[in-house]
């Protein structure tokens, strides 16, 4: 048995071949990473997703799969969709703030407003 098995093969209790699809992205020093994706997606599905991608994209895919799995474990009902909703809320608040400030600037630049501000008190 390979003495330096990746986290996936250790978790699955199998030999880690030299061309293991998981090894580059699930190192043995971080077993939780694979545990997350295995719990949510299953090793087989993760392997298929990675296998169907060009090698240069697999690292990013593994990262996003880990992130999705992490979100789903932490929030089994909403997963990543919970983050999306929170960001949508932040977006609405920011858009409202922006509109408010733009309106304030527009008001402040009105000639009549400027004139009122410049006239001395009599």
């Amino acid at each position: 048995m390979n003495s330096s098995r990746c986290a996936a093969c250790k978790h699955l209790r199998r030999r880690c071949p030299s061309d293991c699809i998981f090894a580059p992205y699930f190192p043995s020093n971080n077993p939780r990473r694979f545990a997350y994706v295995h719990k949510i997606f299953g090793a087989s599905n993760v392997g298929k997703i990675l296998q169907d991608l060009p090698v240069s994209y697999r690292g990013e895919a593994a990262n996003t799969l880990c992130y999705e799995a992490y979100c789903r474990i932490k929030d089994p009902v909403y997963g990543c969709a919970g983050i999306v909703d929170q960001l949508n809320e932040q977006l609405k608040i920011a858009e409202y703030q922006l509109a408010t400030i733009k309106a304030a600037i527009t008001t402040a630049l009105q000639p009549s407003y400027l004139l009122d501000q410049s006239l001395p008190m009599l």
């Binding site: 990473r33 690292g59 593994a62 089994p76 909403y78 983050i83 402040a108």
Partner: protein, 229 residues
């Protein structure tokens, strides 16, 4: 609740014709999930309330391709019954997003929203400074929450998963136009929570944004999506 309405209008039908929210195929035929899996739809099938026999099969195909029926079943079993409809919606959303974009899945949506928020807050900061330089009286008092500086934007600063709101508006999840990235920025200060010792998602976010075509805001090298067959 909007999520329940969304679920009922887009995925669940009459529970595969079997009546009752938790019934299986009965005399009305199998649910969409069991139809896809070509198995007997038993009474109490966990998928039946959420995948009708018509469109449900195609939705379930995506879910099965990405997550696997067994994993989804286990997920749903650990979710309270009243929350399962929402869970199915979000699982379908993630599955479809992953098939559409095998590399980033729904995380691209998160990146895009995060960047929009960052850009807006930068614009707010700039305009606040501009307003201050006009040296004019401040506008009429606003509620404190509107004038308060925006909170630091970071996934890590979002409410913890244990304190999530009771309801979510899921109606925008399936609207691709809501995913558009209006601006592109070279700076991304957000950080994403990663599993302990996991990959560098912040660097991932920068690379992702650098790859987007500045003209179309589409990925510069789109990959063919997975098929559900």
């Amino acid at each position: 609740m909007s999520s329940s309405n969304f679920a009922s209008s887009s995925m669940s039908g009459s529970g595969g014709g079997g009546g009752g929210s938790s019934s299986g195929g009965g005399g009305g035929g199998p649910c969409g999930a069991c139809k896809f899996l070509r198995r007997k739809c038993v009474t109490g099938c966990i998928f039946a309330p959420h995948f009708d026999s018509e469109q449900g099969a195609s939705h379930f195909a995506a879910v099965h391709k990405v997550f696997g029926a067994s994993n989804v079943s286990k997920l749903l079993l650990h979710v309270p019954v009243e929350k399962r409809a929402d869970a199915v919606i979000t699982i379908c959303y993630e599955a479809q997003a992953r098939l559409r974009d095998p590399v980033y899945g729904c995380v691209s949506h998160i990146f895009a929203l995060q960047q929009q928020v960052v850009n807006l807050q930068a614009e707010i900061s700039y305009l606040q400074a501009h307003l201050a330089t006009l040296e004019l009286p401040t506008p009429p008092p606003q509620p404190p929450s509107l004038l308060a500086p925006p909170p630091p934007l970071s996934i890590a600063d979002l409410p913890s998963f244990s304190a999530v709101p009771a309801t979510y508006d899921l109606s925008s999840l399936f609207d691709p136009t809501a995913w558009n990235l209006p601006h592109q920025s070279d700076t991304l200060t957000s950080q994403f929570p990663t599993p302990r010792g996991g990959g560098d998602l912040q660097e991932l976010a920068r690379e992702f944004l650098a790859r987007r075509d500045p003209c179309t805001n589409q990925p510069a090298s789109p990959l063919p999506p997975h098929s559900t067959t």
